[in-house]
Point group: C2
Chain length 96, copies 2
């Protein structure tokens, strides 16, 4: 079940909930100001929480359609889906 299959309000709520968390805001801000992709570990290091928790937040963002993930070897690279932000939260990233 991906975000695109839900009706408008359901996906909107999922997206907003995904963004409505201090940790995930930090992750989004990092990704945005970094520009491109970031290693999951790289991000996790700066958050000072367990890797299982980091993984949980990445999943939440991915399932909300706010990020994409690419695996290379044992590393995973995450980047923001600017299209989703533009559709549901236009201008939001620039306020961070």
């Amino acid at each position: 079940m991906t975000i695109e299959q839900l009706n408008n309000d359901e996906s909107r709520v999922i997206i907003l909930k995904a963004v409505a968390d201090a940790m995930r805001l930090k992750i989004i801000r990092m990704l945005y100001y970094h520009g491109g992709e970031m290693n999951c570990g790289e991000i996790g290091e700066q958050l000072n929480i367990q890797k299982s928790t980091v993984s949980y937040h990445f999943r939440t963002l991915r399932e909300a359609g706010l990020t994409t993930t690419r695996k290379i070897g044992q590393n995973k690279y995450v980047k923001l889906r600017l299209d989703t932000f533009a559709t549901y939260l236009p201008g939001f990233l620039d306020t961070l």
Copy 2:
């Protein structure tokens, strides 16, 4: 304690959480498309939930700085604070 006294991320999370709920999205949409102020009862009627629940959602929106309230006699009128939306969620209302 009002939203303006908190640091940026704290208020951001409160605002986003306030918006990340299906009922409150409906309320916001109603207020936005109606244009001006609306009677609490008027809004509540269309939501099909108990008045105590409606009151709870109004408080959540107000404490997040997303609405203001004005009491006239026994009625209460609510309107959106467009300034808050513009600052934290620019363009968001137009996506609704």
